[in-house]
């Protein structure tokens, strides 16, 4: 089925409008907000701090612990508060998307906690959460070898498009969502998920498209992080 024009008029490789802000939660060691279209993610980092109970501690390296959560009012039909199988899985893949850039060897026996809350959802929430969390980690002064950004790419009809919105995700003839996270410098893919039916070429094209999107997000992240100090 052909998809010739995006429902909201964007180009196929055009990301929705983005906005980022660092330092939004005072009590946290680091925090950030990332908005892409109508999706808004908040992230807070606490740590490195002592990990309790003690048996969870790793004497060789620190532990990164992520928690992804959607506010009950972030979606059209209220989501019951608390963890779900979906949120537990997203927490895990978020951890894996971020862990590779953090120098966890420096902090044995400790934990770095990352809390992500989606306050408004319109597709791409896990990616927005990862992009927010990377800024919050940097803001917390955590030693990181690279930054991470994430964007969802998808196949809508017969087209590969970037940053699907809710309407596109629900496209009648079927849409395949491929969330991708990538390191800014190394261009390594640290998150890649897919459910659907696509060809190898389509996957490779999706990653290529995601790379461009992640570069744009990285620019926004850089600006937001530097902005808080521009007068110092």
């Amino acid at each position: 089925m052909s998809y010739n024009k995006r429902l909201d008029g964007r180009k196929f490789d055009e990301v929705r409008k983005m906005h980022a802000k660092v330092g939004i939660i005072k009590r946290a060691d680091g925090s950030a907000m990332f908005q892409i279209g109508d999706t808004i993610a908040l992230a807070a980092v606490y740590g490195p701090r002592e990990l309790h109970p003690k048996f969870l501690q790793n004497p060789e390296r620190g532990v990164l612990r992520c928690n992804y959560d959607m506010a009950s009012f972030s979606v059209t039909e209220r989501k019951k508060p608390g963890p779900t199988r979906r949120s537990t899985e997203i927490s895990l893949v978020t951890e894996k998307a971020l862990a590779s850039v953090i120098d966890l060897d420096l902090f044995p026996n400790t934990v770095i906690d990352v809390f992500i809350v989606i306050t408004q959802a319109n597709a791409g929430t896990r990616c927005a959460g990862i992009s927010a969390a990377a800024m919050a980690l940097a803001h917390a002064g955590i030693p990181m070898k690279d930054m991470v950004a994430a964007i969802s790419v998808g196949k809508v009809g017969d087209k590969i498009v970037i940053d699907l919105d809710k309407e596109e995700e629900d496209f009648e003839e079927g849409a395949t969502d491929i969330p991708v996270a990538m390191t800014a410098r190394g261009k390594e893919v640290t998150l890649l998920q897919l459910d659907g039916d696509v060809t190898k070429d389509e996957v490779m094209e999706a990653i290529k498209v995601a790379k461009k999107g992640c570069d744009e997000i990285h620019k926004i992240q850089t600006k937001a992080l530097k902005e808080i100090y521009k007068n110092e």
Binding site: P48, E50, D103, L106, F107, A138, A140, G141, I142, M144
Partner: protein
């Protein structure tokens, strides 16, 4: 291109390339990958000879050798104390590093007990984790009375000011005795509680408005007015 790519005092985020080639060496907050040196932290580029460092601007306190810190005794062990200095790990104060002569086998809690607050200097930091302290040195001691407030460690230089100009102004203006730990803990003691409140207000103001222009004048006015 080899040499320095970014200048001193430039703001960097993790992964920014600071220098290229083997002329420079990575110091704290920086790392080498192949030929290049990158930032490991959000912070300011700083040069020390051939060493490229990044001074962190936010987050928890990361101890550095030579820092004067304010800490709390969190445990009394064999021949040493564990001191909480507000970072991920407790620091160690060996019994040989106190101004007093302490006999082997003495009860250490007799000298410094749980929850006692001390001013100490960081003597050694190994990979963020093993932090050693000393209390031998001018002004290093146990603190009695007064209060402790917490500020963001990265704002400490603003509170101290150039050559201590800001902190001296606050001390004179309020008549309080003040010690600013590099770990963001500030000890304030005055004759009257009003003086301590004033000093607190002024220091928190500096923390909140550290980026604004004309801060020194604002603070001066604050100290002169009532």
């Amino acid at each position: 291109m080899t040499g320095l790519i970014l200048n001193e005092r430039e703001i960097v985020i993790p992964g920014d390339k600071i220098a290229s080639g083997m002329d420079y060496l990575p110091g704290n907050g920086a790392f080498r990958e192949e030929e290049d040196i990158y930032s490991l932290q959000l912070g300011l580029v700083s040069l020390n000879g051939r060493f490229v460092k990044v001074i962190p601007l936010t987050g928890k306190y990361f101890p550095k050798e030579g820092d004067i810190v304010i800490g709390r005794v969190s445990d009394v062990g064999f021949g040493m104390w564990m001191i909480d200095i507000g970072c991920a790990y407790s620091a160690i104060l060996n019994m040989r590093e106190t101004p007093e002569f302490i006999d082997k086998g003495a009860d250490l809690s007799h000298y410094y007990d749980f929850n006692d607050v001390i001013i100490a200097e960081v003597t050694k930091v190994v990979r963020y984790k093993d932090v050693s302290l000393t209390m031998k040195g001018q002004g290093l001691r146990k603190i009695n009375g007064g209060k402790i407030i917490d500020i963001t460690p990265s704002k400490v230089p603003r509170v101290i000011g150039k050559q201590g100009s800001m902190i001296n102004m606050i001390k004179e203006g309020t008549g309080c005795n003040i010690v600013v730990g590099q770990n963001g803990k500030v000890w304030i003691k005055g004759d009257k509680v009003e003086d301590e409140v004033k000093a607190t207000e002024v220091i928190l103001k500096i923390e909140h408005e550290s980026h604004t222009q004309g801060l020194t004048d604002t603070i001066k006015k604050m100290l002169e007015g009532n």
